[in-house]
Every structure is written in structure tokens, then in C-alpha cells.
């Protein structure tokens, strides 16, 4: 799984990526030297739980993607079944490009064969 994340990180503007379960367990992570996987995992889990709860309040049962844009970067959450693929990127990145790469990574993670 790490190879898939490292491949995703080769996309222009991607700072790091990880796979995290909603309860904060980091399944795999490929983050840059400035990002700590446990911290990012905990923060990502916080967003996933709060957003899931909010979606229920709003009348939906789940969310499959959340694109969060901040002043100096973006975080993209993609539902891959039992976990979420989370990608941290630069601020001025074209989203279409990264979404395509994330979908491809999600597919590979979901259909990977354990050697």
C-alpha cells in the first residue's frame, strides 16, 4: 500500500498522503518530513467523525469525498470502503488532476493483492 501512496505523492503539488480509518488508526502513510503520521491521522479522523456526524444531521448517511481548502494548502478525503485516503496538497493545485490520481490510487488500494 505504501508504494501506491508514494506513487500518488509523485503528482505535482502533493505533499503527502495516508490511509486512515475513521477511528484514527493509520493503516499506511507516506508523509513529508514536516508531517507526523500520528498527528495527521488524529486530525483526519477528527474531520471524518465530525463530518460523518454532520452529514447524518443533514439527512445523509455517509460522505465519499471532502475537499477542504485552507489559506495555504488543501486536504482531500476520499472514502475507500473501510478507511479514507487522505491527501495533503499545495494551495494552488488544480483539483481535477489530484482527484483523478486519488481515484486511481483508491482503486489500486481496494483491488490490491497482498503478496
Amino acid at each position: 500500500m505504501l508504494e501506491i501512496l508514494e506513487e500518488l505523492n509523485k503528482e505535482v503539488g502533493v505533499v503527502g498522503s495516508l490511509v486512515v480509518t475513521p477511528d484514527g488508526i493509520v493503516v499506511a502513510s507516506a508523509l513529508g518530513p514536516d508531517l507526523d503520521s500520528d498527528t495527521v491521522g488524529a486530525l483526519a479522523s477528527n474531520v471524518i467523525i465530525a463530518t460523518g456526524k454532520a452529514m447524518t444531521l443533514m439527512g445523509d448517511d455517509r460522505f465519499y469525498r471532502f475537499v477542504l481548502t485552507s489559506a495555504y494548502g488543501k486536504m482531500v478525503f476520499e472514502d475507500i470502503g473501510i478507511a479514507y485516503l487522505v491527501c495533503v496538497t499545495h494551495q494552488n493545485l488544480t483539483l481535477d488532476q489530484i482527484l483523478l490520481a486519488m481515484q486511481s490510487a483508491s482503486y489500486k488500494i481496494k483491488h490490491r493483492r497482498v503478496k
Partner: protein
Amino acid sequence: MAFFANWKQKRELKRIARQVKRSLSPGPASALVEKYIDSGLLEDAEEIAKQGVGLFPFSNTVQAAQRHLKKAKYYDQLRRLIDQIKEKPSPTLYAMLAELYNELGETDRTLEVCREGIKQFPNYEGMYLIMGKIRYNRYLKEELTKDGMLAVDFFEKALAINGRDYKTLVRLGEIYIELGMRTKALEKLKSVLYFAPEDESARKLMERVQTLPPEQPLDIEECFNQLHKKRSQQEGRERRSRLSEQDIESRLWNFAEVPGILAIICTAEGARKFASRIAKEGVNEDALCVGLGEIYSAAQDSSLRMDIGSFQQGILYGSAIQVHIFRFENLVFAVIASAQAKADAIQTAIDNFIDNQLYA
């Protein structure tokens, strides 16, 4: 033929420029920037873009026009610098490249170049100064303690390499005065006056140091926190939006009719309900407000702790609904639409709403 086309284009440009200068608003300002870029009048474009961003910081169209302008203006220079660094790296080239990325608003790339520059040329203070400047500007904009602390740290590192840097000494002196750190401020200003005893601004700062109350035994983090608290208390009332609840309520009705929109809600900093427009019966407004509050607070907390600045906007895709969240001043808006609605159309409606209603 070409002469006639040119003349026509210039006349059209002058007409739009007159219109924009009469009353600057986001849409026409962005259009004018784009026209100037097409005509190669990059300095004129820059002037309008600068005014636009200053007046309408929450307008996506203005920001996009400015990004386009910067790319047009700096692309060749950027390529040249990258090639020169590959061929014969030097600390000045790294600093120039970092400054250029910073000018383009590419903060992450600026920092990457600085880190690389420091690795290659550890005894050059320029990279620390750029990193310090970035953090300091971020601190001024968002007032986050972490940014302030890192700014001071980078400036101090630059001074450790070149202790005679006038600008950095004065800047640090000012920061320490703001923080109430009398001893540190004195140390920096004494250094300035040692090199430039007649310097008027250093003398004035020195006078300010004399008026500071006795220093408290706090570390720099506590000083930044205390300063932030003091400023928040002072600005508490001013931070309110210039738009009232009634203003927002009436303007929400001018939000473009995009098929599939179920509701639009506006809250103050994602908590208290400010205004709403429910387009479909049966939508639970209170639940939407609570939900928006939950998302906003988690997103804001993560953004700040991940060091990517404050939350600006978000798009959430669910199996039944999609939620577009955006900030304007201290207000947080959410457009709730059915999952089948066209996200692009909603985004365009949001951009128009910000430009033509909220900035009206």
C-alpha cells in the same frame, strides 16, 4: 486590418477601464485584468489586480485573475532561474527563485526552495529571511502563535549568520516591543544604534521600549498568546461582519436559482445561525446549522494544526446531498444541494453571489 483590430481592442479596453475605475467591483475588475493580460499590458493588469485583491479578499474570481497575471508575468523568469540553478547553483539564485515563488503565492514551493538553499549554502542568511518574512506575513494575517514564533526563530537564525542586518534587527526590535519583551527589544535596538547611532526610527523604537511595563517572566509562546488575547479583546466588536442579519437574509434570495439547491444557511463563525433560505420544504434548518458548526470547527482545527492556515472553503459529497461551504469575513455559508446537482454550476453561483451580492 491588424491596425484596425488593434485600435478596436484598445478602445474596448479603455471603455472597460473607465467603467471599472468609476466603481471597482470584483467581476469587472477581474475582466479588466484578463483583458490587460491578453493585450500584454501587464503593469496595468497588476495595478488593477492589486486593488481588487485588497478590496475583495474573499472573491474567487479576483484571486484567479491575479494568479493568472502572476503566471503570465513570471513564467519565463521562473524557467530561467530553475535552469540557472541546475547549471551553476548559487545562494542568490536560490533566494531569487524563492522570492519569485513567494510572489506567485506558492508558499509551499517557496519553503521547499529555501530548505534546499539552506542545505546547499548553510551560511547564507537570505533563506532564513525569506522564511521569516513568510511566517511573519502569515502571522500578521492570521495571528497564529506558531507563525509568530517561527518568524522570530528564522529572523534570529538570519542574525546569527549576519548580526549587522539592519532591517532584521529593527523588525525583531519591533516584534519584541509588541510582545512586551523589553530585554530582547533593547538588545536588538542597541545593536542597530551601535552600527547607526543617528538612526531616527531606532531611536523612536528605543523611546517606546522605555515606556514598556516591567517584563513578565514568560516565554515567547506565552507572550504571543497573551498578545493575541489582548488583540482579540480589543477587536472583539470590530470582527463582526459589516453586513447585518437582515442584509444577508435579503441577499440570500438573490442567490442564483441552480437546480437541486435545497437550502442556503449562513452562520457566524460556523456556530450561531445568522440567516437562511430554505428552498425545499421539510429541510431541518436547525440540524443544518448544527451540522455546519461541526464541520467548520473540525475543518478549522485541522487546518490550523496541520499548518495550512485557516479554513477557506470546502466541498462535501454525500450519497444524497452535496454541501459547499465558504467563508466571507467572519461568516460561514453552506449551500446544501442534492447529490445530482451540478457542482460546477453551484460553484459559479457562489462566486457570483460573493462578487455581486456580498460585495455589492
